[in-house]
């Protein structure tokens, strides 16, 4: 029985229009804490440094590090500065706009494995036509001018990554570390 049929069974409500929607605005404000490890990473970004952290047990290097090695469940506390060059390990071309992202569609969203890291950094690839982006491509970060950044430390300090023009990376160098 749908709402209209249900209403019809109550004589006093005969002819009443069913309410099919109520809009109830709700606003809650939150202040997020990136935590100590991400704070180190974000602060380094403001100085145009790429700071990763190495797990003392499995020796894998994470960027951004979240303070804990997710496979070992222990604190990562050795910071490692990573070079400004990496390899595209996979990507897609996004054709619909993301809320809150001031980027024209289409854009290329990729995993960039920085040299020396063992997880990909999620980033946009720019500076070339999308059909020329490919797995194995060598790329480098393009930093936003400080004036163009928001006032908060953020991954947005990196505008995007662009090809370096170097030969593609050896697939063995990134096969296990998408």
């Amino acid at each position: 029985m749908n709402a209209a049929e249900l209403l019809a069974t109550v004589p006093a409500l005969a002819g009443a229009e069913p309410v099919t929607r109520v809009t109830i605005p709700a606003r809650l404000d939150y202040t997020y804490s990136p935590g100590s490890a991400q704070t180190r990473f974000l602060k380094a970004l403001t100085e145009q440094r790429l700071l990763g952290e190495r797990c003392p047990s499995c020796t894998r290097v994470y960027i951004p590090a979240r303070g804990v090695c997710p496979t070992c469940g222990i604190v990562t506390n050795e910071q490692i500065e990573l070079p400004h060059i990496g390899t595209v390990t996979t990507f897609c071309i996004v054709n619909i706009a993301a809320k809150g992202l001031d980027v024209e569609v289409p854009y290329c969203y990729a995993y960039v494995l920085l040299d020396g890291a063992h997880v990909g950094l999620h980033a946009r690839i720019g500076g070339i036509p999308h059909d020329q982006v490919h797995v194995g491509q060598r790329v480098e970060p393009v930093w936003r001018e400080p004036a163009a950044r928001s006032d908060q430390p953020s991954l947005a300090a990196i505008s995007h990554f662009r090809p370096t023009g170097d030969p593609d990376a050896d697939p063995e160098s990134y096969r296990r570390w998408m």
Binding site: T71, N95, A98, Y111, A123, Q152
Partner: protein, 392 residues
Amino acid sequence: MSRATGQEPVAVVGIGQTKHVAARQDVSIAGLVREAAVRALEDAELTWADIDAVVIGKAPDFFEGVMMPELYLADALGAVGKPMLRVHTAGSVGGSTALVAANLVAARVHGTVLTVAFEKQSESNAMWGLSLPVPFQAPLTAGAGGFFAPHVRAYMRRTGAPDHIGSLVAFKDRRNALKNPYAHLHEKDLTLEKVRAAPMLWDPIRYSETCPSSDGACAMVLTGVQGAARAPRRPAWMHGGAMRSEPTIFAGKDYVSPQAGRDCAADTYHQAGVVDPRRQIDVVEMYVPFSWYEPMWLENLGFADQGEGWKLVEAEVTEMDGDLPVNPSGGVLSSNPIGASGMIRFAEAALQVRGAAGEHQIDGARLALGHAYGGGAQFFSMWLVGSERPDS
């Protein structure tokens, strides 16, 4: 078999779901979940008084804008005075919820348990719920499709699968959905050409290869041996079930074929004594929100060797009349009330072995797999259900 000894056998004696649609504006959230629950009770010919406990699941609370909605739903689900548990394991939650309910029976904590899962995405905005702006992270993915598209590309690259495989899966599932009265999408005039001509949303994923956004609920009544003996219709018997999780992002994660999925399947098969899933399992209800995940999961679940999943699709093995039908219900690609989608997979598997799937029944289905996954392809839940009691 290899299930832990001393457990009560678990039977599915009632199944109910709603007609999945984009927006159920004629019912509240409570009305939606109750509709599925009432249908499950009717199927089992039981009343609310016969239910000892309620286990409910759904994906993030932000999808409806209600925190811990089970509190408000206690009355609508006849749970007042009873135990009520709320499970949330991301996209796998519908499956996990059913497994938590099954354990209550298996441990003989309760005799008969109602389990329900739902999502009423029209009440809020799921895409918003998925991408609340966190200031120190750069939003890049524009929804779940953007998150999974790079993994699909990695699969295509790793296996050399030709571009049209994704479209074949989408076309199959949408045609199967025409036989399922509860499916959201009923695209009678769809052709393979139309699927292939759809625009790329997150290249390599086309619009036609993605799941819809649905309002819907699914419910099951689970019970033990005595309850099954009283059931008016043939029950489905649980032969195995497992959950596995791995971290969201970690060095060496195989996004294409996550280890947690392989381990979950191995555990589930082991419990049921399945050594050759391709031969022993008759039908699969697989969680495929983007069509390319069918060949990916065929490999992950051991139905095909690494790199060979797409060949089963191309050879029409997973069609309704193939020798391993996948998603005769139309799957997630045809209906996606997120929190319920996993439970629908489990319930559809049970319908098959009960011989109660109607027009999308696979003849002679005796053992069926229900599968769900969630998060960053990191949470898995599965069950195997059979037409016979596992200890018989």
